[in-house]
């Protein structure tokens, strides 16, 4: 795709499939698609198409296969690891115009949606039936189901409910050769599907197996009772111990989130929720289920918090206060802009019992590299999100910020964890793959990739060591949802 004539030809042929208004090739328009919410690497795609149907997607994919052009599926672009970066150019297939909820089936507790459907819209439409779609990434007002499937998204409420793979029954995918396959449970079908679980294998495949166009998701009965606590602690250690004690008591809360002092201070300044400014750490503990059982567990949680010297245990008094609390929590990353011109969000996992250790380690990294590192994370899952603050105008700070991230993720591996709990490998964490996995482990993953994409044309240069990088690789401000 080097010559102008080639590009003109591509534009014309894409327009023949999707219409002129659904093809972008002008640099001023393409710039929107040069990266996702991971902005350390950027590159312009050759073109962006915005198809309106599975048939259009398939025709675009076939055209690209004929021209040997990479294809990059993209939803809302809220991903945090460069998963939708057009590393070597190619055609971005943006699913944002295929965003309908096609049907809610309350009797079978299922919803059929197009891939570009926004996560939060499913619950919006299912609510009247007393149902909801469980996975709730913080970006849920913007992120799409197709993207959620590609990254196996999590969220604060995955502790009890599970992640995307536990809630997606089946989906339609356009394979890199242009064929259309339905993987997993069919919209009217039974939940047992014969043969190998290609549905499960494709969830979390980061857009490297094909373009997801429709999805059948499981709806969950909405709990009838909630109790949401705010536990205030002097130190992160005390809060971490409380997390362990709640789990040890046999309680699985719907959510168990921790925020340290830097975060609560920033949140308070931004949203005035009423967080204590002098607390070392704050826990959000949410119990849900049936009224009696929730009450029974609430008494225990309250006791455990106090036993760990909580200076205050506050119960959200009504649904409005509960909603306000979660809104604050999910906008935590946004409040960081007040603390620092730039920051990088890390996403690591440790076994839950190692939380106190990793939190102490993060403090030592913060001291060593002279950078502030606030923490807001899914404590119940052991899924940490240290936010490394830096100023891009100072090249030395940039270097130290990258090194701090590397130190923390290396420690996660050492403690028996993982370098990503929900954001994915994408372009960002390729180098960690060979540290977390052996060569044969990676080769087996490549074998699975060959089932779907033998030519490695679908979202290439991701996930695996040895991949090509963008020419432009400079730390920039990272905006996070």
């Amino acid at each position: 795709m080097n010559s102008k004539a080639d590009k003109k030809n591509l534009t014309r042929r894409l327009a023949e499939i999707v219409g002129e208004d659904a093809v972008l090739t002008d640099e001023r328009e393409l710039v929107v698609y040069e990266c996702d919410a991971y902005t350390l690497q950027k590159n312009l795609p050759t073109a962006v198409v915005l198809p309106r149907s599975t048939q259009e997607v398939a025709a675009v994919v076939r055209l690209c296969a004929g021209l040997d052009l990479p294809i990059i599926p993209r939803g809302a672009g809220t991903s945090l690891s460069g998963g939708v970066l057009a590393v070597d150019g190619g055609v971005i297939i943006a699913l944002t115009r295929m965003n309908r909820v096609l049907g809610i089936d309350p009797r079978n507790r299922r919803a059929l949606v197009e891939a570009g459907c926004v996560n939060a819209w499913i619950t919006r439409d299912a609510e009247e039936h007393g149902l909801f779609y469980a996975p709730d990434p913080s970006s849920q007002p913007a992120c799409t189901i197709g993207g959620n499937i590609a990254t196996n998204s999590g969220g604060p409420h995955t502790l009890k409910n599970g992640v995307t793979t536990n809630h997606v029954l089946g989906y339609e995918m356009v394979l890199p050769d242009g064929s259309i396959e339905w993987l997993g449970v069919e919209p009217d079908g039974g939940e047992e599907v014969g043969g190998y679980d290609l549905r499960g294998a494709g969830i979390g495949s980061e857009g490297m197996f094909g373009v997801i166009t429709r999805a059948l998701v499981r709806l969950t009965k909405a709990p009838s009772a909630f109790k949401t606590f705010l536990g205030v602690f002097d130190s992160v250690d005390q809060a971490s111990q409380t997390v362990s004690d709640i789990i040890a008591a046999g309680i699985v809360p719907a959510a168990l989130e921790m925020m340290d002092q830097l975060i609560t201070q920033a949140l308070e300044e931004a949203y005035h929720f009423g967080f204590p400014l002098d607390a070392g750490a704050v826990l959000i503990v949410e119990l849900d289920g049936l009224a009696k059982g929730v009450e029974q567990q609430a008494r225990l949680v309250d006791e455990i918090c106090r036993r760990n010297n909580a200076s205050e245990v506050r119960l959200a008094k009504d649904d409005a206060e509960r909603a306000a609390l979660w809104k604050c929590r999910k906008r935590a990353f946004g409040a960081i802009g007040r603390l620092s011109p730039n920051y990088v969000t890390q996403d690591g996992v440790v076994p839950r019992s190692r939380l106190p250790e990793i939190m102490r380690f993060i403090r030592s990294v913060s001291d060593k590299h002279r950078l502030r590192i606030p923490n807001v994370f899914h404590a119940g899952d052991g899924n940490i999100h240290p936010l490394i603050l830096y100023d891009e105008r100072d090249p030395d700070q940039v270097k130290r910020a990258l090194q701090a991230g590397d130190d923390i993720l290396s420690k996660c591996i050492e403690l028996g964890g993982s370098v990503t709990g929900e954001h994915g490998i994408g372009a960002e964490k390729i180098d960690f793959m060979s540290r977390q996995f052996a060569e044969d482990d990676l080769e087996a993953m490549q074998q699975l990739r060959r089932v779907f994409d033998p030519d490695k044309r679908c979202n290439p240069h991701k996930m695996f060591p040895g991949a090509k990088r963008c020419a432009e690789f400079a730390p920039k401000k990272q905006v996070v949802a």
């Binding site: 339905w182 499960g200 495949s205 362990s244 709990g421 089932v451």
Partner: protein
């Protein structure tokens, strides 16, 4: 030839030299590698029986929430390879929902690991789900890591005899629309016995009491055991699967035949059921060709 390796490396060795293997018995590879109650995770070798594994976990007040028939005779490996489950499936999900990592010996003898031992992890492709239910045709699972649950504080299973499938359907609709959150929702008619609906409740004792009370208002009375499932599936191990909303019409077509149905899931075990056929056949074949090009594992 059925292999009976004494260790994982012996299995690697045998597979790399074999041309065709009919089955693998892993009874000698049956150690509990690790159970960390604070993490609610455990790693076990695939030859251990599910019952032994559960006994280990119970010592720390935990369990793997899965209840297939005959856990004494069922190894962790077969549980995974055949994706088995039981009546609590409606509330607990299937084994795919609980496995977070595994080690697998591939047909060429290489041993690979996928996933890990943390409950949330998206590093790399999810091969675990591919190997679960693959019936030992792509590789032999030799070790698995699971997330676990606290042992249930309380559990009650109540039965309601039904006059007809129509009556059962009306009751199911009522339960579906109510506040009840059953973990078991079965409908069975075995060897001419009466058609019976079973609802089970589990969790904090206060919940189980309240829900049992609400269920008895719908006519559920006798507390029953769930052993009908294992008894019936000894002779009927195959099932058909339909959308839950089509359960009753499907059962009507069965005539007088005996069945045990997971009413909440739309899964019906009965004697003449034919195994579900795989869709996307070409993709399915490609998986087998890529992971086992020489056809070593007959499954």
């Amino acid at each position: 030839m059925t292999l009976k390796p004494g260790s994982i490396s012996e299995l690697q060795e045998s597979l790399s030299q074999s041309r065709r293997v009919a089955g693998v018995s892993l009874e000698a590879v049956a150690q509990l590698i690790e159970h960390v109650p604070e993490d609610m995770t455990a790693t076990v070798q695939a030859g251990m029986s599910l019952a032994d594994f559960q006994a280990h976990l119970a010592k720390a007040g935990q369990w793997l929430p899965i209840d297939p028939p005959n856990p004494e005779a069922l190894t962790i490996g077969k549980l995974l390879a055949n994706n088995l489950n039981g009546p609590r499936r409606f509330g607990c999900g299937t084994i795919r929902d609980w496995v977070i990592g595994m080690a697998v010996v591939l047909p060429d003898g290489r041993v690979i690991r996928n996933g890990g031992k943390v409950v949330k992890n998206v590093a790399g492709f999810d091969l675990c789900r591919l190997f679960v239910g693959a019936r030992d045709t792509l590789g032999i699972i030799v070790e698995a890591t699971f997330k676990l649950s606290p042992l249930l504080e309380a559990e009650a299973h109540l039965a309601k005899p039904c006059e007809s499938l129509g009556q059962a359907e009306a009751l199911l609709d009522k339960i579906w629309d109510s506040d009840l959150q059953p973990t078991v929702l079965d409908l069975h008619r075995i060897d001419g016995e009466q058609l019976t609906l079973v609802a089970g409740f589990a969790g904090p004792s206060a919940d189980v009491e309240a829900q049992s009370g609400a269920a008895s208002a719908l006519g559920f009375a006798d507390e029953v055991s769930l052993d009908y499932d294992a008894r019936f599936r000894r002779t009927a191990s195959s099932f058909i699967s339909v959308a839950p909303g089509k359960l009753i019409s499907t059962l009507q077509d069965l005539g007088d035949e005996s069945f045990v149905a997971r009413a909440g899931n739309g899964v019906i075990y009965h004697t003449s059921a034919k195994p579900t056929e795989a869709p996307s056949l070409e993709l399915q074949q490609r998986v087998k060709e890529i992971f086992d090009p020489k056809g070593v594992l007959a499954g």
